[in-house]
């Protein structure tokens, strides 16, 4: 596996995006890699589109992913995956939570929620893994594990041993650990065959 890469985390403010990016960063660091992560705080957090850039490798300079160079993306919402298309390339792998959150224009009935967005991504040559992370989280008995399920799906593709992720989860998630570990494993299984 490549020991350098760029991971984009995106979604809607309040979905647990920053925790997912943080867990992934800790796993990369634990594996001896350098990493940098860029977040935007403040106004965007009020239900707006949110993105975090995570870059890893032997030595990372810029904290920002260049357009056309995100190797992986985790999107917590369907439309947000499409919004960041310019960051992706033909070999990108994108894990998408199939939740749809209506932005204001849709909630007000001024615009429709666009259809077939994931097909549009696939048609560009991007590999899309769609999963209902909330259904999975409900199954393990804790709705707030959806973000960890998505990290699990991402983990199959990263140059990090599974045990490292488990160690990090144990260290960083003191509450509902069992449920989080289960969500991680089930998310990982979804992509296991494709890695």
């Amino acid at each position: 596996m490549e020991t350098k890469g760029n991971i984009l985390f995106c979604g809607v403010g309040g979905q647990g995006i920053l925790l997912a990016s943080e867990i992934t960063a800790f796993a990369l660091l634990e594996s001896g890699m350098d990493a940098k992560k860029s977040e935007v705080h403040g106004m965007a957090q009020r239900g707006g589109s949110v993105v975090a850039h995570l870059r890893y490798g032997k030595k990372v300079y810029s904290p920002l992913i260049e357009p056309g160079s995100a190797d992986f993306a985790i999107s917590f919402e369907i439309m947000e995956a499409a919004r960041y298309l310019p960051f992706l390339h033909k070999g990108s792998k994108v894990i998408v939570n199939t939740q749809q959150i209506a932005p204001p224009a849709v909630a007000l009935g001024k615009m429709a929620y666009p259809e077939n967005l994931l097909d549009e991504l696939s048609n560009k040559g991007v590999t899309v893994f769609a999963m209902d992370a909330f259904a999975l989280a409900r199954e393990v008995g804790e709705i707030r594990t959806a973000n960890i399920a998505l990290v699990g799906a991402l983990s199959s593709f990263l140059p990090i041993a599974e045990e490292v992720f488990i160690t990090v989860l144990k260290k960083r998630i003191p509450r509902k650990l069992e449920e989080n570990l289960q969500a991680f494993q089930q998310g990982r299984q979804i992509t296991a065959g494709a890695a």
């Binding site: 350098d34 707006g48 904290p63 920002l64 357009p67 947000e80 919004r83 009935g109």
Partner: protein, 602 residues
């Protein structure tokens, strides 16, 4: 917080500033919240042996910091770029006084305006106030550079600027941490009138001292290790600093670079040597041509802004593209509905703006979460300039328009913003016989920046209980006769009060008071969500016009409407997402068809 060990930590730029200040022996810190600076004091306040406070504004914060420096403390003042405008008055004269203990001022700039009203480049302040400025490129550089900043401040008797930008402040990386050392200056009252009392006679002497200091600082800059040349390919050489350095390294790893850690004053000799060593000199900097202008003024030939954009953030892609490097093919963006930020479900501001949107008035707004009242469907804000501007702007409108504008101007300002710089506007409106209606949105916290305490919230940054300012008494003391407090969730009452107050031929104040829904106490409170009875919904869309994220409009075709047993012409229905609803009751008040009721009743 663990403090003793020396280890590598994963820290944001802001966390590193807090850590660095603690390690440098800072004992006093003051600031005003503002993205991207806020987390510095929030983190620093958790360390031992540091007193931290939120001041009502940046001017007061810097004055507090200056006083602490006079007493001999190492002290940190924190603010966002526009906060330095507020603090500029003490800043320019603090350059004359210097202090005793090291004084470092953080300016956290926001290129691209992620969370700001402008993107000014505060390096210009270093030049204008004749102060040295240090700029780290990433969290790892922060701690050693901050230690140097305090030493510089004491050695050269000057406040020192420490500039970060969003992509340093809110970037996380690995940082080498160390242990705490105490500041070298004795804490005591020491009277130094020739230095601290800036009457013209003394100030003229200090002006001379600044000129001498500047010469010494240039000499320091020539030898400071954070100003360094990284020789590589000599066809092109790049002078850069701050975050831009990392974009250059990423874009052109082999190129020759002069990296400036101290971006003011400039090491002229080092720059000349570097320029002489390369065929072509290029300046890569975010925002203004600051380095470029000063380097050109030295008579050195270089290029910069003719290639590199002077607006917005840079990144390695832009640097490559601007300088003719190889860039990847990029997919064009997909046309999508925008997703701007929105006030939360149950936000008290929404009720006030909904009420206000029914009046034909000019609403001068201010800085905070409530600036989002500008967005549709509320569209209830007609201006927003800077902290506290709402009140002066409303008053100015009435003075230009005269009697005809009676009942036509409203200023809307948050609690923390009112304390920051709205109080003087209120005093002015009364004193100069204005008749605007001033609405203070009191949600008991500084919300937008992530819940910082303020003089109206009842607690300090250090977590101690504090006096709660009384807006009613304060308004009365300023000369406002009519001060009314309303609950913004009660929309009908709100509308009535606004109408009454608009009709008054004098300044009046409405205090719109209800806690932010994100406050821990509010989150814990048991809430009964509301639900929509779809049989009763007539599709009038009154509730939809609140713009609440928990309410969604579902369009219906004629056939679908008939199938649902609705009139054929009903164009749709609105439904509450129960899992998002906090039961604030605003939609219940605006629904004329009793289609909304608490979930428990069902």
């Amino acid at each position: 917080m663990t403090q003793a060990e020396t280890e590598k930590k994963w820290l944001s730029g802001n966390e590193a500033v807090a850590r660095g200040a603690w390690e440098a022996g800072v004992t006093v810190a003051a600031g005003y919240p503002g993205t991207p600076s806020t987390e510095i004091l929030e983190n620093l306040s958790k360390y031992d042996k540091v007193y931290c406070e939120w001041a009502p504004n940046e001017k007061v914060a810097l004055e507090v910091a200056l006083g602490a420096s006079f007493a001999g403390a190492r002290v940190l003042a924190t603010m966002k770029h526009v906060g330095v405008n507020v603090a500029a008055d003490p800043l320019f004269t603090a350059s004359y006084t210097g202090g005793r203990g090291g004084l470092v001022i953080i300016t956290a700039d926001d290129p691209e305006m992620h969370s700001s009203q402008n993107e000014q480049d505060n390096r210009n302040y270093a030049f204008a106030a004749k102060l040295p400025m240090l700029e780290p490129s990433d969290p790892a550089e922060v701690i050693p550079m901050l230690a140097e900043a305090f030493a510089l401040s004491e050695k050269f008797d000057t406040p020192v600027f420490f500039r970060t930008t969003t992509r340093v402040a809110h970037v996380k990386g690995l940082v080498d941490t160390g242990t705490r050392k105490n500041g070298p200056v004795e804490l005591k009252i020491e009277k130094m009138p020739a230095k601290f009392v800036m009457l013209p006679g003394n100030a003229r002497v200090r002006r001379q001292a600044i000129a001498e200091r500047q010469i010494k600082l240039v000499d320091f800059a020539e030898h400071y290790s954070a100003n360094r040349i990284e020789w590589g390919d000599k066809k092109r050489g790049i002078i850069t600093g701050g975050i831009s350095y990392l974009y250059v390294k990423e874009a052109f790893p082999e190129i020759s670079i002069l990296k400036l850690g101290l971006t003011w004053p400039l090491p002229e000799k080092m720059i000349r040597d570097f320029a002489a060593g390369v065929d072509e000199l290029i300046i890569v900097e975010e925002l203004d041509p600051f380095l470029e202008t000063h380097i050109k003024a030295m008579g050195i030939k270089c290029r910069g802004k003719e290639m590199i954009p002077a607006m917005g953030e840079l990144n390695s892609f832009i640097v490559k593209k601007s300088l003719g490097g190889d860039i990847a093919d990029v997919f064009p963006p997909v046309e999508l509905p925008p997703r701007p930020p929105n006030m939360c479900a149950g936000c008290p501001h929404r009720g006030l703006f909904y009420s206000l949107s029914k009046f034909k008035v000019f609403i001068s707004g201010d800085i905070g979460c409530y600036t989002l009242g500008f967005l549709p469907p509320l569209s209830a804000m007609d201006s927003c300039v800077c902290m506290g501007a709402s009140i002066g702007v409303a008053h100015g409108l009435t003075k230009a328009l005269g009697e005809d504008s009676q009942g036509k101007t409203v200023a809307v300002i948050g609690d923390s913003t009112f304390i920051h710089s709205g109080i003087t506007g209120l005093v002015n409106t009364v004193y100069n016989k204005g008749f605007s209606t001033i609405i203070i949105l009191d949600n008991r916290i500084t919300a937008m920046t992530g819940h910082q305490q303020n003089p109206a919230s009842g607690a300090t940054l250090m977590g101690e209980p504090a006096h709660v300012i009384n807006f009613t008494e304060l308004s009365h003391a300023a000369g406002v006769k009519h001060v009314t407090t309303v609950n913004p969730h009660h929309i009908n009452e709100c509308r009535k009060v606004i109408k009454e107050e608009l009709e008054r031929p004098e300044t009046s104040v409405i205090i719109s008071q209800a806690p932010c829904v994100l406050l821990p106490s509010e989150r814990k409170r048991k809430k009964i969500p509301l639900t929509t009875d779809l049989d009763k919904c007539t599709g009038c869309s009154a509730c939809v016009k609140l713009g609440c994220p928990a309410i969604r409009w579902y369009p219906l075709s004629h056939e679908e409407a008939e199938k649902m047993g609705k009139k054929e012409k009903q164009k749709g229905y609105a439904q509450i997402a129960v899992e998002m609803c906090v039961g604030c009751g605003q939609c219940l008040e605006v629904c004329k068809f009793e289609a909304i009721s608490p979930l428990e009743d069902n």
